[in-house]
């Protein structure tokens, strides 16, 4: 389907199949219209893990949904393989790009296999349902997300982390080259978050898929991002490699957070440590 065979050593700038060009977007229409995104431009590098961070309500989910054509752009364009995504037939897009929205809820009683099977929707037609190819993709996705052992249990009976992995399996079963995930680690234990990000990085680096992930946890974002994008008030404030973007200055600008950026002594990874004011009286004691 695609002829995007990257050269052995990718030269800069990296090839990119998904890009955002001066996009504005928002909610409502007429008198209740509310702009959220303003003039956002972003090139998503192929085969890499792009992580999007920013304070609550800054428009991360809005950007992800606009990039995935499930929200219209009021200005500018999102290009998928060079063509405006909003003008491309939706099912056609769904074979190349998958999105997991924030906080999805599975219908009660739906089994893991049935949920993951929904990812095959864009590959099926009324007359051609559930082929051998579909079953192979579903099994592979469940294995990759490590949920195969729950295949026949209802999703609603699993723990938060297991449930989140089921949704990721659904998106993987879609077998798209580009995957957008909105806060897939929220409400999970730190250990489960790390495991999930290891999985996502493997999907990007080993399978060559393109991932864009909205994350809440700054230190995890810094540890895993190939490209780190920081948003504030509907705009992109900083984007680039972690070393360039994850600085006390940007943390102050974007989050209003006074923090020092330290280095992990073993790996050299950046870690942010908030500066906590100690009241004078207590400091004196």
């Amino acid at each position: 389907m695609t002829d995007h065979t990257a050269p052995a050593s990718a030269p800069l700038p990296r090839p990119c199949r998904l890009s955002v060009r001066s996009v504005g977007a928002g909610y409502g229409s007429g008198s209740t219209a509310r702009a959220v995104l303003q003039d956002v431009s972003l090139d998503i590098p192929d085969g890499a893990l792009t992580i999007l961070v920013g304070p609550n309500g800054c428009g991360k989910s809005t950007l992800l949904k606009t990039m995935a054509r499930i929200l219209p752009a009021s200005s500018g364009a999102v290009l998928l393989d060079g063509r405006p995504i909003h003008a491309t037939p939706s099912r056609n897009v769904a074979r190349r790009l998958a999105i997991l929205p924030q906080g999805p809820v599975a219908p009660e009683g739906l089994t893991v296999r049935e949920l993951v099977g929904q990812g095959r929707f864009p590959h099926q037609t009324l007359l051609r349902q559930m082929s051998r190819d579909d079953r192979r993709a579903i099994d592979a996705a469940m294995a990759a997300a490590d949920v195969a052992q729950f295949a026949d249990s209802p999703v609603s009976r699993l723990s938060g982390g297991q449930r989140q992995r089921c949704w990721i399996a659904m998106v993987l079963a879609q077998e798209t080259d580009i995957i957008l995930l909105d806060e897939p680690t929220t409400f999970l234990d730190l250990k489960v978050q790390v495991d999930l990000l290891v999985l996502l990085r493997r999907i990007a680096h080993r399978d060559g898929r393109t991932l864009v992930v909205v994350l809440h946890e700054l230190n995890l974002a810094a540890a895993f991002a190939d490209l780190l994008v920081m948003m504030k008030d509907g705009r992109i404030v900083a984007q680039g490699a972690v070393d360039a973007t994850f600085t006390p200055q940007t943390l102050q600008d974007v989050f209003g957070l006074r923090a020092r950026v330290l280095r992990d002594p073993d790996s050299g990874r950046a870690i942010c440590a908030p500066v906590i004011d100690v009241p004078q009286a207590m400091a004196a004691q």
């Binding site: 499930i70 056609n92 074979r95 999805p104 929904q118």
Partner: protein, 336 residues
């Protein structure tokens, strides 16, 4: 693991359609055999397969009883499929043509046009019923949208109850104004398969079959929609068009049912939830099974309506309500 290739309900579902259809045929024959005079099942079968107008029992079967049984099959299937669709689109386990006011909306419109305006053209009745169902659905949805918290499951049901009470009062007032016409409508208004008007049934048939075909065609997309608008849109579904088509199917199915049998409450609630217990959540199974099970359910309910207080016959709609209300309570306790 030998069952690895099939979902949890897969094996049961692949064997069961034949069994389900067999039970449906049995319920159909039983329904016909029961009545003022019991006609043995073999005679019923012979009357259908080798009709002989010389035999009185054959006449009774073909002229009187088969039409009623066919109505039960059609209406049961239509209301159940409509309920299943509504539950999927609204993601509300309590959604159902009766509870959300569509049945009373359709009935009110028919009463208005037939009883008050004296227009009784059979071709008009399903159309009028559809307009009434659609208008009631819009009002119920509008009230729920304006409520704090939006159209939550119980909010929708409350809104449906308010609209139903209001329209029910209007129907009662109308019936006081014109007692003669309403004597004929009274039985129909409680939901009855007793006297299916053949002309109305024929005019309702295209609505009913059209609704069923559209509903079954949407089955695969309904499962995806059940996971939320955004997930569904991400999978390439046109969510707006899908909901509009589902609404059209629900309105057509409700209109046809009301035209044929008046308002039969709770069928659209009881049957799809019963079906989900064994068929799971995939609408590719839920919708066809709702059609089969709904048909069988209404046949059995109609048998009960005629047997329980025999020789007095009670309205089928009273029996569906008697059976449905406890199940509604159970659902509220368990699913909300």
């Amino acid at each position: 693991m030998t069952g690895a290739a099939l979902p949890r309900h897969g094996r049961a579902a692949s064997v069961a359609p034949a069994a389900g259809l067999a039970l449906l045929v049995l319920a159909f024959l039983w329904h016909i055999s029961v009545g003022a005079k019991t006609i043995p099942l073999p005679v019923v079968a012979r009357a259908i397969l080798a009709y002989d107008p010389e035999i009185f029992d054959h006449l009774v079967v073909i002229d009187l009883r088969v039409p009623r049984a066919v109505s039960a099959v059609l209406v049961g299937a239509a209301l159940s499929v409509a309920g299943a669709l509504m539950q999927g689109v609204t993601r509300n386990p309590l959604a159902e043509p009766g509870l959300l006011g569509l049945l009373i909306g359709a009935s009110f419109a028919v009463v208005l046009v037939v009883g008050v305006l004296d227009l009784a053209a059979p071709g008009l009745i399903p159309l009028v019923a559809a307009a009434g169902a659609l208008a009631a659905a819009a009002v119920v949805w509008g009230i729920a949208l304006a409520a704090p918290g939006g159209p939550a499951p119980l909010t929708l049901v409350l809104s449906g109850a308010a609209v139903s009470a209001f329209l029910g009062a209007l129907v009662t007032i109308a019936s006081l104004l014109d007692e003669e016409t309403f004597d004929q409508l009274r039985v129909w208004m409680t939901g009855s398969l007793a006297g299916p008007d053949r002309a109305v049934t024929l005019w309702a048939l295209p609505w009913l079959l059209g609704g069923l075909v559209v509903a079954l065609g949407l089955a695969r997309q309904m499962t995806a929609l059940a996971m939320g608008d955004e997930v569904a849109a991400g999978l390439g579904l046109n969510v707006g068009r899908l909901k509009a088509l589902a609404l059209a199917a629900v309105v057509a199915l409700t209109a046809a049912s009301v035209a044929m049998a008046g308002p039969l409450g709770f069928v659209g609630l009881v049957v799809p939830h019963g079906v989900r217990l064994f068929a799971g959540q995939d609408y590719r199974l839920v919708l066809p099974w709702s059609a089969i099970a709904g048909a069988a359910y209404l046949l059995v309910v109609d048998v009960a309506a005629r047997l329980v207080l025999a020789p007095v016959e009670i309205s089928t709609g009273l029996v569906t309500a008697l059976l449905g209300a406890p199940i509604f309570v159970w659902l509220v306790k368990r699913r909300l």
